[in-house]
């Protein structure tokens, strides 16, 4: 455990140092996400004339968007780092120094989650200030939200591990990641609450969907999912994320082995 914390510190320091060397990248990323949101928002406003309807659905709209922000980073960041580290030549040094690479990837995911969270706070404040719509996030529900957020995003990191593994074997996979981001955009926005029956169960077994809808319950409806009246929802979310995380880990391990067999950790 202490070892994990130390690794966490090492990864955190490394990623903060690297980010600070090139702060422009960070700013541009945030700025693009902000512009994109405002584009979507203004577009929606011109379509939905009724201000009341617009206001009612805006919370959900913002939440889905912010969740998608997490998705982008969770899906692609690990793989992106592996690609560039393989190209630099530093990946082999990492594998040699810390051979339990899956554990290292998990720690990197945690670091990445925290940096994403900080960026989301900035993005969210900008968005809320621009739209005048302040989400009901406060001391009362912040812990519930964080819990739901962490569990939901953990499932997405499962997909991140799959891409990281594929990056180990195939090196250039950036394109696939981009396409997946759009698939997740759809999942973040799909109004799963409005369907019912088996279709709903099927839909909730996809990543992201259940988590987003639970977070909306807490933030938009100001209700709670922790009062024990619907325990299967929380249980479902935990199982959902655990399964994707497990699948991701398994795929990563297979790919790691494959890349050690093919000798593709370095430049070759």
């Amino acid at each position: 455990m202490i070892r994990a914390l130390k690794l966490f510190r090492a990864e955190l320091v490394r990623s903060v140092l690297l980010a600070l060397r090139y702060p422009i990248e960070l700013f541009i990323g945030l700025f693009i996400m902000y512009i994109l949101f405002m584009g979507l928002f203004l577009g929606a406003r011109s379509l939905v004339r009724d201000p009341q309807v617009l206001s009612a659905s805006l919370d959900g709209f913002i939440i889905s968007y912010v969740m998608w922000f997490f998705v982008i980073s969770a899906l692609g960041r690990l793989a992106h780092h592996i690609e560039s580290e393989a190209q630099m030549g530093v990946l082999e040094q990492i594998f040699l120094t810390y051979p339990r690479v899956l554990a290292l990837m998990m720690i990197r995911s945690a670091v990445d989650f925290i940096t994403s969270l900080l960026m989301v706070v900035v993005l969210l404040v900008c968005i809320m200030a621009s739209t005048g719509k302040w989400l009901a996030i406060g001391t009362g529900n912040i812990l519930q939200i964080l819990f739901l957020l962490i569990v939901t995003v953990a499932g997405i990191y499962g997909f991140g591990l799959i891409f990281a593994g594929l990056a180990l074997v195939f090196k250039r996979i950036g394109q696939v990641g981009t396409i997946m981001q759009f698939a997740f955009f759809f999942l973040a926005y799909f109004p799963a609450e409005q369907i019912s029956g088996w279709l709903k169960v099927a839909f909730y077994s996809l990543p992201l969907t259940l988590g987003v809808s639970l977070i909306k319950t807490v933030v938009v409806e100001q209700s709670t999912v922790f009062d024990g009246t619907r325990p299967w929802l929380l249980l479902g979310l935990v199982i959902n994320s655990a399964v994707y995380l497990l699948i991701g880990s398994a795929v990563f391990l297979i790919c790691e082995r494959k890349s050690r067999i093919d000798g593709r950790l370095g430049q070759y």
Binding site: M88, E92, Q93, G263
Partner: protein, 333 residues
Amino acid sequence: MAGTTDQQDAFRLEGLAKTFYPILPWHRHRAVEAVRGIDLKVPRGCIFSLLGPNGAGKTTTIKIIAGLILPTRGRVVFYDRDGSELRSRPRLGAVLEGSRNLYWRLSPLENLYYFGELKGLSLTQIRREADELLEMFDLTKKARASTQTLSRGMQQKVAVAVALLGKPEILLLDEPTLGLDVESSRLIQKRLRELVERDGRTIILTTHMMELAARVADRIGILSEGELIAEDSLPNLVAFFRQQNYELQLPRSEWERLRNDVSAFRFTEERSSDDEEVRITFHLDSREGFYKLSELLLSRRPQFITISQVTPSLEDIFLQITQHYAGRKGDEA
């Protein structure tokens, strides 16, 4: 010179082989046999140099030892200081792609800290070792500069310093002095020697630079097309090849008379500048060869100027072995 057999082994390669298969199954016929069954014992506390032409399998072998490539057959066995077999790979240090084994956007010190923490060292331990290592490689002044602004040689030294963190028993270096100036190269050599002599560490290094290998290595292994075709200490290799290389100097007219009779032997010829004399170096496979050659020559009664045993340089040995080996392969085919 180290490298006697009574030394304990640091590790052994047992029937190590590696074939790379292309990712697409229908390209399997393009498989590359990079390493073809290497057996080797590397004694503790020595510098072992792997030599071989391009594509001989040096890098592949080193990466298998490092655990970065899984072998197709065979295994690497590591031993601890009292000679018992280790269950897993001990901590290794490696510089495999030279200066590229670092984060270029971080400073040398930051690289040392990051990799030190990955190795599980405590911060105080890292601080102490980092100071020592930076001092050792003359990098203290550049400790906080961005690594990408350093010269190639300095980057290379940083990479070696990172590899030495945590005092690994075994150090693997792939072309550690490639592209370095004489001074940096000498400094690295000197430090490596100290590590071996003072701390009894074991170093495996590949290189194309024969002078480097001749100067620092206690033992030398020559790889060709994935096979280890010679392996011994440098003095033994030289002594062995001394017995196999004979040089004749004689007038050109004499040589023309003899030439056809000795065509069964392998030799190289060199003419003097006035074209009056030739110098022939015979490469013989065994003592027998020497007796046969002498008999033949004596029966012709040439007017010798000189005949002498040649002390080959490592480069001569290398060329002779690899060429001879390639020739034999060609004959088989």
